[in-house]
Symmetry: C2
Subunit: 346 residues, 2 copies
């Protein structure tokens, strides 16, 4: 029996993870579920965004279904108490270094994208984002300059081992897909990027069957608008991956449709919709549960070794979307109705 | 008599600056021109991408018309010899800290954008990017970790004076436009961004008439695709500005149409098209000179105090585009023919 940790978190997180859990339960697999608080919800309950009991559950679990964190009422807290620290802490503590963010247009949803239909239709890419390093986790703080000015600083860095393991994840993913890997950096300005590029080139020696290219991040942001269909797999660092994956998700239309997996070296993973906590619509039953449900499908595939069950869930979502849409896609389905439609299609 | 430094640089830089110079000459103003080599071209001629004579000319000049730098044959050089160091060096040495990058759809060019026409048509924004600080200019290098691994690092930082002067530039620009300023940062993760946000809020006390908002950079990248018409002025740091301004330019359609100004505190400026050196089409007479010509117009307005002349040039470009298009816009005009069309429309 596999243990699934459910960490609903803030905003719309509880609503969408509830639907994803219903879908997992409907599959009648040998799964146990345990829930714990995380993010702003945990801070308000216990004084810490990632309480020891939650971290302990995450460690014990075979996989984690995560909702979202982010709570405007916590904006003025010291950094280590803010909701975001929960997801950053989980990624780091569990060494979830490989973030997989697929972006693909669902048939019939061309009209949801701001891109021209023919541009949007060509999108079928996977962003492999590094999650354990970069300027996210370097030394950081506020200090005073010699002339008495306040200064904020954050150290960006990668070492070769950190780059190598994510590069391998990128090449492996490209090999399973269309065999094209684009590594995104800013090597014309950053030494961190220069090391990144050097190591990616070194790793490429083991992947003759994958066509490797390099792109500066400013150009990548441009190409993701101009012609996103040119990309198969993109591998990049934590900060650039944060920006580009959100951009790519919007090219597809609704950020309410896109799942993600954050994996360690053994395939243990945390699964979360890439949308945030959306405090403006929280608690109203308006959120789109599809990204959370598709995250559960990724869990079945990547952590539980159940690819057929994953396929079934993904097919059910695609089928449900034909006649059901939540507000983000211009429809008027509630979160629960959308979940029901997926269950019916299972 | 004003002295204009012309720094053509690499790739298509010489072709497009030549047309911009022809346009400036046609205005029969009291201008003197002096040219100097920069970037890869200067490296090949003198062994340095920003030779002392070029820097000296840039200092003496009242304004600088810059082509572009970037030359693949220099990729293996040490960082301080690469073409990019020339533009970074000029920005820093001349304290050109405020980079203005307007993005607006030209009437009739809706079809050039990958965005839906109704989304693209609404774009009329200005990105105000900081150019003298951030991870671009912090301490950087390669070192070895205690466990013997190669590591690349770059220090990101801003002090309050650096943020204040660019925030003022952003608020002033917003005041001259539609009165909306969106400050983009990643304050949920970065201390540099937290200081940025704090100082922007402090400066806002002097600008009651400007509506200030804050957005995380990942969300901004998303919103620039979803609904770019929501933005008036965006103010942001060097790295985020690099990424978002290229993204915004592509939302408008052709990066071949967009100019930029990089200003110091007195209004002295360097003017450059935001497209790069485009080595693939260099020397073929295919490049679009409009961005360079529009950069010259910005020079007339911001450094030479000649707003009417600037208006004339901009109107001439708009008029020429009605019947003439270079390859980037799906036409077959050469660089020179496009330049001729603008001259005819003057
Ligand atoms: C909440 C935030 C810290 C996080 C990040 O920047 O990684 C989010 O934007 C994401 O992409 O998962
Ligand atoms: C050439 C490069 C160093 C430069 C930058 O990153 O600033 C360019 O991309 C730009 O935006 O002007």
């Amino acid at each position: 029996m596999a243990l699934i940790a459910i960490l609903p978190g803030d905003g719309i997180g509880p609503e969408v993870t509830a639907e994803a859990r219903r879908v997992l339960e409907a599959l009648a697999l040998d799964l146990a579920f345990e829930e714990a608080a995380v993010g702003g919800a945990a801070y308000h309950a216990t004084g810490h965004p990632l309480p020891p009991a939650t971290l302990d559950l995450a460690r014990r679990a075979d996989a984690i279904l995560f909702g979202s964190v982010g709570d405007p009422s916590c904006d003025a807290l010291e950094r280590h108490l803010r909701p975001e620290q929960a997801i950053l802490g989980l990624r780091k503590e569990l060494t979830l270094f490989a973030n997989l963010r697929p972006a693909k247009l669902f048939a019939g949803l061309e009209d949801a994208s701001a891109l021209r239909p023919e541009v949007a239709r060509a999108i079928d890419l996977l962003i492999v984002r590094e999650l354990n390093g970069d300027v996210y986790f370097g030394e950081k703080g506020m200090r005073t300059t010699p002339t008495g000015l306040r200064q904020g600083y954050d150290l960006m860095s990668y070492d070769e081992a950190e780059v190598r393991r994510i590069a391998v994840a990128g090449f492996e993913a490209a090999r399973r897909r269309r065999g094209k890997l684009c590594s995104v950096d800013k090597a014309n300005v950053l030494e961190t990027s220069q090391l990144w590029r050097d190591v990616v080139v070194e790793v490429s020696a083991d992947y003759d069957d994958v066509a490797l290219s390099h792109m500066y991040v400013d150009n990548a942001a441009m190409q993701l608008v101009r012609n996103p269909g040119q990309f198969d797999v993109i591998v990049t660092g934590n900060l650039f991956g944060d920006i580009l994956s959100d951009q790519a998700s919007m090219c597809v239309g609704s950020i309410g449709l896109l799942p993600s997996a954050s994996l360690d070296a053994e395939g243990k993973g945390l699964y979360e919709p890439i949308h945030g906590s959306a405090p403006d619509i929280a608690g109203q039953g308006k959120a789109n549960p599809c990204a959370a449900i598709l995250s559960a499908a990724m869990m079945l595939r990547h952590s539980l070794g159940l690819p057929e069950a994953a396929d079934r869930v993904e097919a059910a979502v695609a089928a449900a979307l034909v006649n059901h849409r939540t507000a983000d896609l211009g429809g008027d389905c509630s979160t629960r109705t959308m979940g029901d439609a997926v269950l019916a299609a299972l």
